[in-house]
């Protein structure tokens, strides 16, 4: 994913679409605009998207439907629903379905900024999390099978001695493995190791 995530604007009204793009660009965002939900889903590189601003009232595919589709295809992508005045029930429904926010037209630029920014940071955060997760997993993958065995038992919280007994080797061997693991994982403590394991969503088993 590139450094700058894009804001995806989906609205069937040309003027609204264009003006929104202009405004967001003055706020410093990269913007991709689409005139329908269908076009957006077909053409947008979802991996590059930071957040989606979608108008709820559109022909063919409504904003809610777009959001439903995104939930299955790319659930971490934050969706902001754009409503006209009085679409509150729909907005509430959108929120329940997982939209992160809704904003009313005509847009107040400060509210727009706040909303988009929080969505983007969410995205960023989740992106970062993804990246972190990926790198941790990569590191874990680099452990040798024996190291992996030791790692699995260390993060449960067993002491070296216990690990040694479980793996049928000497505590000294365990210590050596442990040092190598710390190095490979770039961890500073067992606690750190545990955090990393959790972040990476590793399956933790005990025997």
């Amino acid at each position: 994913m590139s450094q700058e995530a894009t804001v995806c604007v989906v609205d069937d009204d040309e003027a609204v679409r264009d003006s929104l793009q202009v405004l967001l660009e003055t706020m410093g965002y990269r913007v991709n605009a689409y005139d329908s939900g269908v076009e957006f889903l077909e053409n947008c590189a979802l991996q590059e998207a930071g957040c989606v601003l979608v108008d709820v009232r559109m022909p063919k595919m409504s904003g809610l439907e777009v959001q439903q589709r995104l939930r299955t295809d790319r659930p971490e992508l934050p969706v902001i629903i754009v409503t006209g005045h009085g679409d509150v029930p729909m907005a509430v429904q959108a929120m329940r379905s997982g939209a992160v926010d809704f904003i009313e037209k005509p847009f107040d630029e400060d509210m727009l900024l706040a909303s988009v920014e929080s969505a983007m940071s969410l995205a960023r955060k989740s992106h970062e999390e993804d990246e972190l997760k990926a790198s941790i997993r990569t590191n874990i993958a680099r452990l040798t099978p024996r190291e992996r065995e030791v790692f699995d038992r260390l993060i449960i919280g067993h002491a070296n001695k216990v690990v040694a007994r479980k793996l049928n080797c000497s505590p000294r061997t365990v210590e050596i493995h442990r040092a190598r693991i710390m190095e490979k994982m770039a961890a500073t403590s067992i606690a750190h190791l545990v955090r990393m394991a959790l972040a990476a969503d590793i399956e933790i088993t005990d025997d």
Binding site: D13, L20, L23, T26, M27, P59, G84, H85, P89, K105
Partner: protein
């Protein structure tokens, strides 16, 4: 002095003796002047005697003749009477008093003819009527009493003929007394009154039939005379008014009327009697009647007029129409309710239409407004990013532009608030109930002639928060569209269904067997200002969609298998 022949002879004899004694007449004449005087006297006496005798003989003759004449007259009279008896059409039987009951001594030919018995068969026998062994009817008892008490009697019995048939016999028996005052004979006069009896029986039957009709008539029947006094008051009238017949007979019929009729009824009668103008006679009218307990009730009154023995009488037929009135009132109030619903509907439809128009307007206006504000804000930001004092004025103006755009937005917002239906009109309601009312409204009128409507409403559906009138507007809209769609179908079928869908939301569908939707129409179906016909009651699919979506539901159309369209909408059960 009785001038008998003996006397006369005696005197003449004396005269002759005197002659003999005293000589011949010349001797008598010469003998004595006294003697001649005496002889003269004697002659004169003789003459007188003869004269008297002649007169008495004449008188006796006359008496005899009279007596003979009288005798003849009596005989003639008797003969006449005899003939009268013989030829009378009434049967006449004369009995003696032998053995108390008596024996028949004479029957006239009429009796023979009446009974079929001959005189020979009857004479010498006890009178048939009184023969022992007859059934003891009161009539027979009366006859027997007359016998024992020797009083005349008149009664009617069935007299049996020789052939076994009978006739109605009006019998009059009277006693005949001798010079001592003792009853010596009885005479019975028989009249065949069968015809009259039959007529009477027939009349009696008619009378009883009529009485039964009057008694069992479902209408009250009251007759009054020309003064208004009640003559007859049948059972139904008793039941209707709460009076017994005896309580009202003779009273003025106006007691059965409430004011003001009570005060005026007498004048109604007298006016009619005077003018002959019929106001109610033969016409009938709905009026109010007054019961004994003081309550009133509505009746239909028909009045007939009859004349009996020259006197006018009026007959009133009274029908209690309380139930009919109630039914009429219920019908009227249902019709009123329907009218009310209709106008409420039209009113709210118009409001909805207005609201929808305002909503559409607001939505449409919002787009350019939002774009405008975006552009203005963007421009201002661009100007602000350039750090130069030259842009102060443009920045200021842009700000003003943004403010004005915001103001426009506020106005639109307020307008929408003004016409939008608030959430406060929502209540928990039963969709089937709501639908039934809506269907009644939608199917009113000629548009729905010949349409077969099937309603399949699921039982036990939960109640849902909804604005009743709004949902009804949607339903009416859908049904009317279906009616329009099926106008050219031979068999017009509309089916309405309620159920729960898989998500446990209320599902309502309206299906028709019309031509269905073509693709072009289907795409623009729910868009505003799309419908072809504006209608006071209908509000269009666009509004329908707004309403349903505001309730949190969805509305859509699918083809009906077999032809036509199914419109469906959901209403979420709620939190």
């Amino acid at each position: 002095m009785r001038l008998t022949w003996a006397t006369t002879l005696g005197v003449c004899g004396a005269a002759i003796i005197a002659l003999v004694i005293f000589g011949t007449p010349e001797e008598i004449w010469s003998a004595n002047r006294i003697f001649p005087g005496m002889t003269l006297l004697m002659l004169v006496m003789l003459g007188v005697l003869f004269y008297w005798r002649y007169q008495s003989i004449k008188r006796a003759n006359a008496k005899l003749s009279d007596a003979i004449e009288t005798g003849r007259k009596i005989e003639r009279a008797l003969q006449l009477r005899n003939q009268a008896i013989e030829s009378s059409i009434n049967g006449i039987v004369i009995t003696d008093v032998e053995d108390d009951i008596g024996r028949v001594i004479y029957v006239n030919p009429a009796y023979e003819e009446l009974t079929g018995f001959s005189a020979e068969e009857l004479v010498g026998q006890p009178p048939d009527i009184l023969r022992p062994g007859k059934v003891a009817t009161p009539e027979l008892k009366a006859l027997q009493t007359s016998l024992t008490e020797n009083r005349p009697v008149r009664t009617t019995v069935r007299t049996f003929r020789k052939d076994g048939s009978f006739f109605w016999d009006d019998i009059h028996i009277s006693q005949i007394r001798d010079e001592n005052g003792e009853v010596s004979h009885r005479i019975a006069i028989h009249s065949d009154i069968s015809d009259a009896m039959d007529k009477e029986i027939e009349l009696d039957n008619s009378r009883r039939a009529l009485q039964s009709m009057i008694a069992t008539s479902p209408d009250g029947i009251i007759t009054i005379d020309r003064h208004g006094a009640i003559q007859m008051f049948n059972q139904t009238a008793e039941a209707l008014f709460g009076y017994s017949e005896s309580e009202v007979i003779g009273m003025n019929v106006k007691m059965l009327m409430p004011h003001p009729y009570q005060a005026e009824h007498d004048s109604y009668i007298s006016k009619y009697l005077k003018t002959g103008e019929k106001r109610i006679i033969g016409i009938g009218r709905e009026v109010t009647a007054l019961r004994k307990d003081g309550t009133t009730f509505p009746i239909e009154l028909a009045v007939g007029e009859i004349e009996i023995n020259g006197e006018k009488q009026f007959t009133g037929f009274i029908r209690d129409i309380t139930q009919r009135r109630e039914a009429e009132n219920q019908l009227a109030s249902s019709q009123n309710r329907l009218k009310e619903l209709q106008s409420e509907f039209v009113h709210v439809s118009r409001l909805s239409a207005m609201g929808e128009m305002a909503a559409t307007l607001a939505h449409e206006l919002n787009q350019p407004l939002a774009a405008m504000m975006n552009y203005a804000q963007a421009t201002r930001r661009m100007l602000q990013s350039v750090d130069s004092g030259e842009n102060d004025r443009p920045i200021e103006l842009m700000t003003k532009a943004v403010d004005q755009a915001g103001r426009a937005g506020e106005i639109i917002r307020r307008l929408r608030n003004f016409v939008a239906q608030g959430e406060t009109d929502r209540l928990l309601d039963d969709i089937n109930d709501v639908l039934n009312e809506a269907c009644a409204l939608a199917l009113v009128g000629a548009r729905s002639d010949g349409v077969e409507t099937t309603m399949a409403l699921a039982a036990d559906l939960p109640e849902v928060m909804m604005d009743r009138i709004q949902i009804q507007q949607v339903v009416v809209n859908l049904i009317r569209n279906s009616l329009d769609a099926t106008v050219d179908q031979e068999r017009r079928l509309i089916s309405i269904r309620t159920s729960l869908d898989e998500q446990n939301d209320l599902l309502v569908s309206v299906a028709d067997n019309g031509p269905g939707l073509d693709k072009a129409v289907a795409e623009r179906l729910f868009q505003p200002f799309n419908s072809s016909k504006p209608d006071g009651m209908g509000i269009g699919l666009s509004i329908s969609r707004t309403i349903i979506e505001q309730h949190g539901g969805r509305i859509w159309a699918t083809p009906n298998e077999g032809g036509g369209v199914v419109f469906s909408f959901t209403l979420p059960i709620g939190e």
